[in-house]
C-alpha cells in the first residue's frame, strides 16, 4: 500500500498528524492521533516508509530522535457491549477511568483495576498485572477474549470472539497481549467482565518483617479465600504494612476480618490515610520498577527478600512491595533516588540469577535509557533457542523494526544506534 500525497495531506489537515512538542520545545517528531482503525494502518505505513520508529508510549517517544508518537485517545468507541453475557468489545484508546464509568453504569466492572488515566491499549500491550485480583497474578490476558491488531504491513487482523472459551486457531489473544506493542498496534479488544461486587472492604495493618512466622499462617489463609480476596500486598518503607482487599457481601467480611486478625496476632491497624497511600503506590506510576516474578511459596519469597536486603542495604529508603500469593516482588525507584547503572548492574544480574534458579525471572520496567541494553538482556529469556524464535517472530511481524518498546526490547543495528544516541 502506497500512501498518496493526497491521503497524507488529508491526514495532516484532519490533525491526525501534528508536530510533537515537549513543553515549549518543538521536536523533529510528530504526534499521530488516529480517529479510525484504517488511519492506524495508514500511519503504520508511513512509519515503515520513512523507517521512523513509532511509539505508543509517550515516555518511549521522548527517548527517540525523530519520534512518531501515536496517541490512541480518539479510538475509544464501544463497539459492542453484551450486557447479559458480561462481555464488551471496545477500542483501546479508552482510558481505564472511562471504561470503569461506562461499565459501572450497567452494574459491571473490568475485574482488574488501574489508574484512571491509563489507556486500555497500554494495559493490554503490557499485560500489566493489576494489584487487584493479584492473587492469580492479575494479568489482563486472562480476560481478553478477542482482539484487533494492526500489523506494520498495514493489515487489520482479528482474533477470538465474543465468547468466553475459544480454541479456534492459534491463541493469538495470549500471544499479542503482553507483546508490548512490538508486533503491531492493538486497536480493539473483547473483554470478559464481572458484575460490580456488592461491597468491597480494605484492611491495613502494621506487621513485623516477612521473615517472622505470621506469614506462614497468612499464606494458606489467602489461598483458601482466594475467590473473595482480590489483593494482598506487603509494603516496606521504614516499617512493614499489609493491605488486603476483599469483595463480596458485607456480612462475609466480619468473619474474614476475625480470621485475618487471628493470623496476624492482633495487629495494629494503619490509618485510613496510610491505606490510601498504599493504594496509590500500588499502581506503580511515574517510577522505575524492578519486578521479580518468583514462585509463590514462602521459601522463595524469604530467600529473595534476604538476597535483596543483602544486595541493597539501603532498601528501606525506597519502597519494596510484595504481592503475596501472586509471587511478585517489586522494588520501586523514583527518578530522584535512582542509582547509577554501574552501581546497579551487578546486583541486578545477581538478583536475576537467583530468580531464575527458583523458576522465576526479573524484569526492568520504565528504567532510564542507559539501562536499555541491560533491560534487553533481562527482559528476554536466556535460552538461545527461545530467544532466536522470538526474534524470528518479531521480524515476521515487523521486518523494519519500527515498533520497539523499552519493556520488551529486540535489538537491531539501527535500534541500538538510536538508543545510544538518545
Amino acid at each position: 500500500m502506497d500512501l498518496s500525497t493526497q491521503e497524507l495531506e488529508a491526514l495532516e489537515s484532519s490533525s491526525v498528524i501534528q508536530p510533537l512538542s515537549i513543553g515549549d520545545i518543538q521536536t523533529e517528531g510528530f504526534i499521530l492521533t488516529p480517529n479510525k482503525v484504517e488511519q492506524v494502518a495508514q500511519l503504520l505505513h508511513i512509519s515503515v516508509q520513512q523507517k521512523r520508529p513509532l511509539s505508543l508510549n509517550y515516555n518511549d517517544a521522548l527517548l527517540m530522535e525523530h519520534p512518531l508518537w501515536m496517541n490512541m485517545k480518539h479510538l475509544k468507541t464501544i463497539r459492542n457491549h453484551r450486557i447479559n453475557d458480561l462481555i464488551i468489545t471496545v477500542e483501546t484508546g479508552i482510558t481505564m477511568g472511562e471504561l470503569r464509568q461506562t461499565l459501572a453504569s450497567q452494574g459491571q466492572q473490568f475485574p482488574l483495576s488501574y489508574p484512571d488515566d491509563l489507556l486500555l491499549a497500554d494495559v493490554i500491550a503490557q499485560d500489566r498485572p493489576a494489584a487487584e485480583t493479584g492473587l492469580s497474578g492479575g494479568y489482563p490476558r486472562d480476560y481478553v477474549l478477542g482482539l484487533e491488531m494492526v500489523t506494520p504491513d498495514g493489515e487489520i487482523t482479528h482474533y477470538g470472539g465474543e465468547v468466553v472459551k475459544n480454541v479456534t486457531g492459534y491463541d493469538l489473544n495470549k500471544f499479542y497481549t503482553g507483546s508490548h506493542h512490538t508486533l503491531g498496534v492493538i486497536t480493539a479488544v473483547t473483554l470478559k467482565l464481572a458484575p460490580l461486587p456488592e461491597a468491597t472492604q480494605d484492611w491495613g495493618f502494621y506487621v513485623s518483617s516477612p521473615h517472622h512466622p505470621w506469614l506462614e499462617d497468612l499464606l494458606p489463609w489467602l489461598h483458601q479465600h482466594r475467590h473473595q480476596l482480590t489483593a494482598c500486598e506487603l509494603f516496606q518503607k521504614e516499617s512493614w504494612a499489609l493491605w488486603i482487599r476483599a469483595q463480596g457481601t458485607k456480612n462475609s467480611f466480619s468473619t474474614l476480618e476475625a480470621e485475618l486478625k487471628a493470623c496476624l496476632g492482633n495487629p495494629k491497624p494503619t490509618s485510613s490515610q496510610t491505606t490510601r497511600s498504599f493504594l496509590k503506590r500500588t499502581h506503580l506510576d511515574q517510577s522505575h520498577l524492578l519486578r521479580l516474578t518468583i514462585p509463590k511459596g514462602l521459601s522463595a519469597l524469604r530467600k529473595t527478600l534476604k538476597e535483596i536486603e543483602s544486595l541493597f542495604p539501603e532498601v528501606k529508603s525506597y519502597p519494596i512491595q510484595l504481592r503475596l500469593a501472586a509471587g511478585f516482588v517489586h522494588l520501586i525507584w523514583q527518578p530522584d533516588n535512582m542509582p547509577q547503572l554501574t552501581k546497579l548492574k551487578q546486583p541486578l544480574k545477581q538478583l536475576a540469577k537467583l530468580a531464575q534458579n527458583q523458576g522465576g525471572h526479573l524484569q526492568l520496567l520504565d528504567f532510564p535509557s542507559d539501562f536499555l541494553s541491560l533491560t534487553q538482556k533481562l527482559n528476554l529469556p536466556n535460552d538461545p533457542v527461545a530467544q532466536a524464535l522470538m526474534y524470528q517472530l518479531k521480524a515476521l511481524y515487523d521486518p523494519h523494526n519500527i515498533l520497539h518498546s523499552r519493556h520488551l526490547v529486540f535489538s537491531s543495528p539501527s535500534h541500538t544506534k538510536e538508543s545510544s544516541s538518545s
Binding site: D85, L86, N166, G248, T293, G327, G360, N379, D383, L408
Partner: protein, 469 residues
Amino acid sequence: MGHRFVLDGPEELIAYECDACLLIKNAPEIVVLPKTTQEVSQVVSFCHTHKIPFTARGAGTGLSGGALPLKGGVLISLNRMDQILEIDTENHTATVEVGVVNAHLNQALEATGLFYAPDPSSQSACTLGGNIAENAGGIHCIKYGVTTDHILALEVVLPDGKITRLGGKTRSSHGLNLIGLLVGSEGTLGIITQATVQLTPKPTEIRAYLATFSTIESAGNAVSQIIASGLIPSALEFMDAFTVKAVNQAYDIGFPEDSEAVLLIELDGTLHVVLDQEDRLMAILSENNAQQTRSAQTAEDRQAIWAARKGAVAAYGRFQPAFYLHDTVIPRSELTSVLKKILAIGKKHQILIGNVFHAGDGNLHPNILFDPDDADMLQRILKGGEEILDVCLQAGGVLSGEHGIGIEKSKYMSRLFSEADLNKMKQIKAAFDPQQLSNPLKIFPIRAGCGETHLSISNPLLTTGGAWI
C-alpha cells in the same frame, strides 16, 4: 530406542490410523514410542533432515483428528513419557512428562490438598500433552479456567529437532508469550515433551445440585441468569432428555427422565461463601420454574454425578456406533434460541442429536449419532452438522471451545477468519516449521492443488465447495 518401541507392521499402523474422531483416517508409515525428550528430538531431527512429516499422539482421545497422521510419515506416540517429575506443594506446581494421564496426576496429588483443575471429560484416559496441544477445557473450567491458564513452563522439541525450555514456576511470561502461543497449537508448531503446571488448593466445601426443567427455555434462561448474576459456579452443565436416558443406562445413576432438560451445577469455596451462593442459586432456579432440585448428599454421590457426566458422550455408543459433534461456543444469552434451532434441525433431517455441554461457558456439544455403514445417514448428519454450525456462527459463535480444529473443522476456518487473519497464523506456522512437517495439514483449510491429492479427499468433511476442494 529399541526395536520393541518402533512399530511398522501393517496391522500395527492401522491401529494408529485415527484417534477418537472416526470420520477421517490415514495410517502412518511408522510409529515410534520414545521415552525421553532426547529421543523425540532425535526422531524429529531425522524427519527434518529427510523432510518426513511427523505427528505427535498422546492417548488418541481427541475429537477433531488432531493426532491423525494426515500425510503419513512418522507418528510419535508420547504415552510412554509418563513420569511425574516433581510435585512442589509449597509453590503449587507439578512438573510432568506429557504422557501422564490427566487423572493420574490428580491421583498423585490426592494427599497434598491440591489439584490440577482442567478436567476434560476424557480425563481418565487423555494425556496432559494432548490437553496442552488442544488447550483442553472441561467441566470445571467455568471457574478455574482452561488448560492454558494452568501452564507455567514447557519443554518443546521444535520442528527442526532443537529443544527449548520456556517459562518456570510462575505465571508471568518472559519476553513474547510463546507458551500462550504453543498451548492449543495442536502439535503444528513442535512437540511438547514436558510441562510445569499450576496446581490449585482444593476448596473446603463442594456441593453439587441437579435441577430439572420441563422446557429447554427455562433451563437456558436459568443459565443466562446465573451468569448475569455474577454467581460463578464451579460447574454448570446441561443435559437433554435423550442424554439423561443414555447416561442412566450406562451408569445406573437415576437422573430423572421426566423432564426436557437437566442442569448439573456445582458450587465450591469456603462454607460461608457456598451457603451464600446456594441461596442465590436456589432463588434463580425456582424463578425459572425448575421442576425439582436435588443436591448430592455425599462426596461419592457428587463424584458419581461427574463420572456419569464425563462418560455421557461415550454412553451414546449404546444407541449408535459413532457420533459426530460440534464444539461451538456461543454467547450464553443465545443458548435457548440456538438449542431450539438445533433440535429442529435434528427433526428435519431425522437424525439423533444428544446435547450435553458446558452451559456455563456457552460451549455447545451437539452430538450427532450415526452409523458409518449407513451412507444415507452419513449424508444427513453432515448436512445437519453444517446447518448447526451455521446457526451457531450466526449467533456470534466460534468453531471450537476445547476440542481443537484439527482436520475435522479446518475447512470452516475461513468462515470465521479473513484471508489476512489466516495468513498471520500461517506465517507463524511457517516461522516455526518452514518445511510444514509438524502435524501437517491441520488447522488451516486444505487448498486445491497443493499436491495433497494422494489423500482420499473424497471425504466430505475435508472439503468444501468452491475454491476449497
